[in-house]
Symmetry: C2
Subunit: 170 residues, 2 copies
Amino acid sequence: MSAIQKNVEAASERYSSGFTKGHLALPPAKKYLVLTCMDARIDPAQAFGIDLGDAHVIRNAGASAHDALRSIVISEQLLGTQEIVLVKHTGCGMLTFTNEDAYGIVDKNLGSEASAELKSRGLDFLPFPELEKAVEADVKYIKETKLIPDSVTVSGWVYEVESGKTRRVV
Amino acid sequence: MSAIQKNVEAASERYSSGFTKGHLALPPAKKYLVLTCMDARIDPAQAFGIDLGDAHVIRNAGASAHDALRSIVISEQLLGTQEIVLVKHTGCGMLTFTNEDAYGIVDKNLGSEASAELKSRGLDFLPFPELEKAVEADVKYIKETKLIPDSVTVSGWVYEVESGKTRRVV
């Protein structure tokens, strides 16, 4: 067992020994979802004030709304959420490379078979060159797709990894 | 401003006032990623023992490895993670519907334009009928794709929303 796997088992013992929230219902109590980045420096529960059971939390590289569409539709249509809080962040890795860079790195690190798989999937890594514009673009995308109705409230934010602050953009 | 947006602002003030982690580096310190579900009843930091800065956390509906592939490749190839901890959970919403059900609900709730957009995208909601088999299948998928090298350590787990425990499956 790896050190990381041992850490999961130790956390499980610690957390479950004081656990009192086994009664929570499946649908989020406060009927909203937070979409943010997978970045290791973000703790959504603490930074954005989410109590256990209150909100869905979707996380991917760059807090991409395109990438999250499947999860957002499930959250809203099957589990009743009605508001989206989208949070990208300063110092995001997605600001540091292009699709061309990423394709080159996969080819160099993983070889021609991986490179061929990447190309056959046509995978878009969805990097972005400007943070606040990317927040605006993703909010616009959410408002435009017919799969998310106009009745859903959407806001776009930036979390500052340097200060721990979250500020509204749109 | 909605009550949920006010709550984000209040959390930001509270969290940033005691924030001491502004120095953390972009790449995860412990070089691993956790892939889990967006479910509101999961707090990955507490339940799986993740300190701020240690690991990427990817979350989507059902903890789908297929859906997370873009983020996983970025995490490993661009940000140096080398281990994957995949955690699905009891009582998951993905156990409760089929793609056909979801397409029907979108058509009923959102109308023909949304239904047409869904069909033209060919969106697969990726539900699964059996929990432990789904963990096994996703670990297998991770091991088979050339985009994730064999050197990456992978384990599959189930989090129990009733007890707060996390147990290893594969």
